[in-house]
């Protein structure tokens, strides 16, 4: 290595360390409190599913009514875990990609506390019977503007960083990250204003709420997962992104098609005829961007197949991207008007798709990113590879069971609903085995996340290993699993030079 490149590599390492240090507290806060909400949400999900299977369980207790618990389960999953994990990953990603320290970590941390407080108030309100009854927007009306304000404080600095970065190309990972950051407030503000503030036709309010659910899933969670996957895949494998044009197709088809999806959930309701059809068409086309994103990120990762065995980040990310592929293809197959849509519109497929999107696709990629980011910002290594393995295996079994069984089982459930020659109880009976399986799977997932949460908490308390050898899943390996960026220089900035 020549003297000059050695020096710039050293400067690079110093800059990266500075960026990581500037974001340590807010990002760790988002990850750890997100993981805590995930555990709460899973517990509520277990209760809700248990009540579907055996309604006598905790029957008659107002706080534990089926409908309220289910609403609280979804709300904590989406806003407590999903949004916080996404915020943590997105602000870190943009800071790294624009090569700038984050100078607003105090504000972000404060806004993060506010966010958690609002989620807690909202969740208690739902359980206490003050929910709004709008699916995915059950938090009381006053919570929403406050959440948006907290979001603005969290995201504004990141947007400024993006704006003032050294001019030039906008990278693939950045497209998706900025897309998610822009679409999220746009969707939330629109839905909040139209559903809660401007009185409209009750049916169109329901339509907007359906559009909101789909928007959060496909234009916030999915692009966040894509941004992280497009960052991690080349970083860990050490190879450039597989196909630029495929990524381009993935992004723009998602941007063009995504915002039209959602209202297929109102097919047959008396709203303007074209809306559900546009929604169904868009939901069918969602398959295209997911295939494009999945193929190009998986091909990038596969260029270094040995890393799958060792790198926890890569393993989680790859699993998440595979879930993304399954999600996109399922969306295509379950939303065909006049064929599968009537079967899945109101069956348990609905829940299966939500879980596949949030826990399967999105969360797995987030776990991958978290396993990558946390050692860098805490400057400690993960304590136990057994914890990571447990987390991976039980989450994987769980999500395969929930998503695959609910999505496929939902089609059979839908057939039962449509078959009017049989009485309604036969349709209910058809959903039963899948709900039972979901219950067991949730228990697996909760079990796996106990390990995750404990591990993360220990890392936040800076009890991680002080070592410059990353925690790998396989046996000792001489290559760095983190790609060209090198091992983590726990001895101080610049002590280990990128190789």
């Amino acid at each position: 290595m020549s003297q000059e490149t050695k020096q710039s590599a050293e400067q690079d390492a110093i800059l990266r360390t500075a960026i990581d240090r500037s974001l340590r507290h807010p990002v760790m806060f988002f990850f750890t409190s997100g993981a805590a909400w995930l555990a709460v949400s899973l517990l509520l999900g277990i209760i809700a599913t248990a009540k579907m299977v055996s309604p006598e369980f905790l029957d008659g207790c107002p706080l534990m009514t089926q409908g309220r618990v289910f609403a609280a389960h979804i709300s904590t999953l989406v806003y407590g875990w999903g949004c916080q994990a996404a915020f943590g990953v997105l602000i870190w990603l943009i800071a790294r990609l624009t090569r700038q320290e984050n100078r607003a970590s105090g504000i972000i941390l404060a806004a993060g506390h506010a966010w958690n407080f609002l989620i807690a108030v909202g969740t208690f309100s739902i359980l206490a019977g003050y929910g709004t009854g709008v699916p995915w927007m059950e938090f009381p009306t006053m919570i929403w503007p406050a959440l948006l304000a907290a979001y603005a404080l969290i995201a504004i600095w990141t947007m400024i960083q993006f704006r003032v970065r050294t001019p030039g190309e906008v990278f693939v990972s950045q497209w998706f990250a900025v897309g998610a950051l822009v679409w999220f407030p746009w969707i939330v503000a629109t839905a909040f204003l139209l559903v809660f503030c401007v009185g409209g036709n009750p049916l169109m309010s329901a339509g907007v709420a359906a559009w909101f659910r789909s928007g959060i899933t496909y234009l916030f969670f999915l692009p966040t997962a894509a941004a992280a996957a497009y960052y991690l895949a080349p970083k860990i494998s050490g190879r450039p992104v597989h196909s630029y044009s495929l990524s381009l197709i993935g992004f723009w088809v998602l941007a063009v098609v995504g915002p039209w999806a959602g209202m297929q959930k109102l097919t047959g309701a008396p709203i303007p005829f074209f809306l559900p059809y546009m929604g169904a068409a868009a939901a069918v086309l969602i398959g295209i961007p997911t295939i494009a994103i999945a193929v190009s990120t998986l091909r990038t990762m596969a260029s270094e197949p040995g890393k799958f065995a060792t790198s926890p980040s890569l393993r989680f990310t790859a699993a998440g991207v595979v879930c993304m592929l399954v999600l996109g293809i399922s969306s295509t197959l379950t939303n065909l008007p006049n064929s599968t849509l009537p079967l899945t519109q109101f069956s348990i497929t609905h829940y299966g798709m939500d879980i596949l999107a949030i826990y399967g696709c999105f969360s797995f990629v987030m776990f991958g990113a978290i396993y990558f980011i946390v050692p860098r910002i805490t400057r400690r290594e993960w304590l136990s590879k057994r914890f990571i393995k447990m987390h991976f295996l039980f989450s994987m079994y769980g999500v395969i069971a929930v998503a695959v069984l609910s999505v496929l089982g939902g089609v059979l459930h839908g057939q039962g609903q449509e078959d009017f020659k049989f009485t309604w109880d036969s349709a209910v009976a058809r959903a039963y085995p899948y709900q039972m399986a979901t219950l067991i799977a949730w228990c697996f997932v909760l079990f796996s996340n106990v390990f995750f949460f404990a591990h993360l908490l220990l890392m936040w308390m800076r009890l991680g290993r002080r070592s410059s050898h990353p925690t790998l899943l396989g046996h000792a390996h001489l290559d760095s699993p983190h790609g060209p960026e090198g091992d983590i220089d726990n001895a101080g900035p610049g002590s280990v030079i990128a190789h």
Binding site: P55, G60, C61, V170, L203, L248, G258, W260, F346, F420
Partner: protein, 237 residues
């Protein structure tokens, strides 16, 4: 990609869908236009007045707060979108003693008086958009049955009402042995526990509002043919 193309593309792609699929339809459908009965086609003439009575707004709130929409839908899809029409009692009745086939799919007026149409998330329980008529019919049939069974011992104070049946269901959907399979949650916290054994629990105002709301969901009035896409009725058998 440069920042300019990126920003422009983002605004154009999201903005157009936002405008044409969300904002414009929302404002366009805000005021529901009256629908007229057509001369020669409908039996009636003039403007169609939907009638919906009961504590709709309060009841809808209780319905929303307890998450009934997780398992119940409130929409009868036209035949092109599903088979809801053919489940007896969902869209109306196939053979109403007075009016014959009364089935029709949902229309805009069915959601009158609500802020948010509870289309529903999943359909674990049956669709509720005609639950009022169903309970009225059940109550009538039950009274007839008891009358013939009891003969002279029957008096009018023994009559049951759709309200009473719904209270019973809400208090515990699994009372009847034939309904042990029901997974409908009990909302008995909306009732005051009975003072003595054997008395019926008395409903709190929320339970009354909820029942009023459920009973307001009926598809039993004649709507203009222009709003009714029901399949052509088979010739009289």
């Amino acid at each position: 990609m440069t920042l300019r193309t990126f920003t422009f593309g983002m605004i154009a792609s999201f903005g157009s869908a936002w405008l044409f699929a969300v904002v414009l339809p929302f404002f366009k459908t805000r005021d529901v236009k009256p629908v007229y009965f057509a001369d020669g086609i409908d039996e009636k003439t003039g403007v169609y007045f939907p009638k919906r009575t009961g504590q709709v707004a309060n009841g809808a709130k209780v319905y929303a707060q307890n998450g009934c929409y997780v398992c119940h839908t409130q929409v009868v899809r036209p035949t092109y979108a599903g088979n809801d029409f053919h489940r007896d009692g969902w869209a109306g009745f196939k053979a109403d003693p007075d009016r014959g086939d009364t089935r029709r799919e949902s229309n805009v007026f069915d959601y009158q008086g609500e802020d948010f149409a509870q289309i529903g998330v999943m359909r674990i329980g049956p669709d509720l958009s005609n639950v009022g008529s169903r309970y009225e019919k059940t109550a009538l049939a039950l009274n007839e049955l008891n009358k013939t069974k009891l003969g002279d011992a029957w008096n009018d104070s023994m009559k049951t009402s759709p309200e009473a049946l719904l209270f019973e269901h809400l208090y515990n959907p699994r009372t009847k042995p034939s309904m042990r399979w029901s997974t409908c949650p009990s909302v008995r916290f909306l009732f005051n526990e009975p003072a003595r054994e054997g008395l019926a629990p008395s409903p709190k105002p929320e339970a009354k509002a909820l029942v009023g709301y459920l009973l307001s969901m009926k598809k039993n009035d004649t709507v203009p043919a222009s709003m009714n896409y029901a399949p052509p009725k088979p010739a009289a058998q």
